[in-house]
């Protein structure tokens, strides 16, 4: 009796207002919601806040297209021999975007605070790092007399978590193969959850192994099915990183970006949508 949550990518993306904060799933070149990210660019979104422990291609192309106001991230790189994310790097160095630099685990702690419904979350480590002072993180003494003090991270509640999944049910249940990166905590901390999936699997398939479901349907607001949507990154076990495509993306030039966007699977498929 549940209604299908599956809608076109363009419609899903149009739910994101300018100025929204987006937690993006995956890590570096792996299982990121990259078709969605490119659609943000096509729709001319502005002033976005990007929240991700290890963004790379996604934050880079969004900076390149001028969509970003601010990012909260732990480590940013293209990886796979490509080194730094060049357009992100330039955006930070020229102060075109604001950076809140995290340890990956401190960003997770902020998301946990949101998921757990508490204003702050203790985070192990961080002692001696200059990051707490940079970010104004407070240290709280253990009130139970152990003599320990721990940094607490303020709650981070993204407007949206956006996840690229392997499989969804028509009702919006979400399955991921291999590591879930930080997708699970993102889906529990954000106000709304959007999912881009490689393919639909039947409700019966989900019911036969419900333990495999990472996000239950009732936490999901909308789903778009975009085969190869994590291109030029990988989506295990369906496809690997398209390294030549990443290399072709890197050179300067509006034409390069345009050609890259046009070569993307969701653009190639658009005629069929």
């Amino acid at each position: 009796m549940s209604t299908s949550k599956i809608i076109p990518l363009g419609e899903l993306t149009s739910q994101v207002a300018n100025g929204s904060s987006l937690a993006l799933g995956g890590s570096f070149l792996h299982r990121g919601p990259f078709a969605f990210v490119r659609e943000l660019i096509r729709q001319g979104k502005r002033d976005l806040e990007i929240i991700k422990q290890s963004p790379g291609y996604d934050i880079d192309i969004l900076c390149r297209a001028g969509c970003v106001r601010r990012t909260r991230a732990g480590i940013v790189a293209m990886e796979g021999n490509f080194g730094l994310a060049p357009y992100y790097r330039k955006a930070v160095e020229k102060k075109e975007i604001e950076l809140e630099e995290h340890a990956c685990a401190s960003l997770t702690a902020g998301l946990r605070a949101s998921a757990f419904g508490v204003p702050f979350q203790p985070c192990g480590g961080l002692h001696g790092s200059a990051l707490p002072e940079l970010n104004g993180w407070q240290k709280v003494a253990d009130p139970y007399g152990t003599g320990e003090a721990v940094y607490v991270i303020p709650r981070i509640t993204p407007d949206f978590a956006v996840i690229h999944a392997n499989e969804v049910s028509p009702e919006g249940d979400v399955r991921v193969f291999g590591t879930s990166h930080w997708d699970r905590i993102m889906s529990r901390s954000a106000k709304r959850v959007l999912v881009i999936a490689e393919r639909i699997a039947s409700s019966e398939s989900f019911a036969s192994q419900p333990e495999l479901t990472l996000i239950p349907h009732f936490l999901v607001d909308a789903v778009a099915v975009v085969p190869r949507g994590a291109w030029p990154g990988s989506c295990w076990p369906h496809y690997e990183v398209d390294y030549p495509a990443v290399e072709a993306y890197l050179p300067d030039g509006a034409d390069v970006l345009a050609a890259h966007l046009a070569a993307a699977p969701e653009a190639q498929e658009a005629a069929h949508a």
């Binding site: 570096f28 070149l29 480590i75 796979g80 992100y88 480590g125 940079l134």
Partner: protein
């Protein structure tokens, strides 16, 4: 000219030598050399240890060795997936035995900068950022880093920014292996084609070198294991590690 022990092999092999029996050892993103070191240790050493990685793998049997050290192939053959929240928690609760962490600059205390060259607020170069470091360096039982360039720019007296403190148990470069002793990095060994004088000249922080000497050359099994991981030398070429910057001129 080709060194008898390539600086690439020097780094990977010496990273692998930090792995100990029955421990839990972790490699993360942007960490091709530690990934190779962990896989080398599995192939070259007789003892058991648990290798976990950022792709969720737990003692994986990857069908190929990926360019990206976070590639999902690194979970292939795993009997479980240990994902990011899990391995960070393992570390902060004190159960991560050995953790490989990246660094752009290292100081004499084994602290690291991975954030910026120049002032953080007005960077000359915005670096990737700390990733695991600020949380894992102070909480892992041992952490080890590596640099493919050993110079006074990378082995510094004072960091441009203090991304992670707590102190490395080991640092491996193309010419040297440092270990922690009395709270500071101390030289343990140098590349057989380098020397104590060269290491001192290319290191901006002062260090103790008592007992240091040329590193033990790779064993046959270490050489074979690395060759099996990189049969065509692709990883070695991509890494582009040189013993000395002059060697390229």
């Amino acid at each position: 000219m080709r060194e008898s022990w390539s600086p690439f092999s020097f780094i990977v092999t010496n990273l692998a030598r930090f792995v100990r029996p029955h421990e839990v050892t972790f490699s993360g993103v942007n960490s091709t050399l530690p990934m190779l070191a962990c896989l080398l240790a599995k192939r070259a050493y007789d003892f058991e240890f648990t290798y976990i990685n950022v792709a969720g793998g737990v003692d994986p049997q990857p069908s190929s060795i990926p360019i990206s050290s976070s590639d999902p192939v690194l979970a292939e053959g795993s009997r479980s997936i240990f994902s990011n929240e899990d391995f960070y928690d393992l570390c902060t609760r004190g159960e991560m035995d050995l953790c490989f962490l990246g660094a752009a600059q290292v100081d004499g205390l084994g602290q690291t900068n991975v954030s910026s060259i120049g002032d953080w607020h007005n960077p000359k170069v915005r670096l990737p950022g700390g990733g695991g470091g600020a949380v894992m360096l102070p909480t892992a039982r041992r952490a080890v880093t590596w640099r493919t360039e050993h110079s006074r720019r990378t082995m510094v007296e004072k960091l441009d920014f203090l991304t992670a403190a707590g102190g490395m148990a080991g640092v491996v470069t193309p010419i040297a292996v440092f270990v922690k002793r009395d709270g500071r990095l101390a030289l343990q060994s140098w590349h057989p084609e380098s020397s104590l004088d060269e290491v001192r000249a290319r290191t901006a922080f002062t260090f103790d070198a008592e007992g240091a000497g040329p590193a033990e050359p790779p064993t046959g099994r270490e050489r074979d294991a690395l060759r099996s991981l990189d049969p065509t030398g692709t990883f070695e070429r991509d890494a582009g590690v040189r013993l000395r910057p002059e060697a390229a001129a």
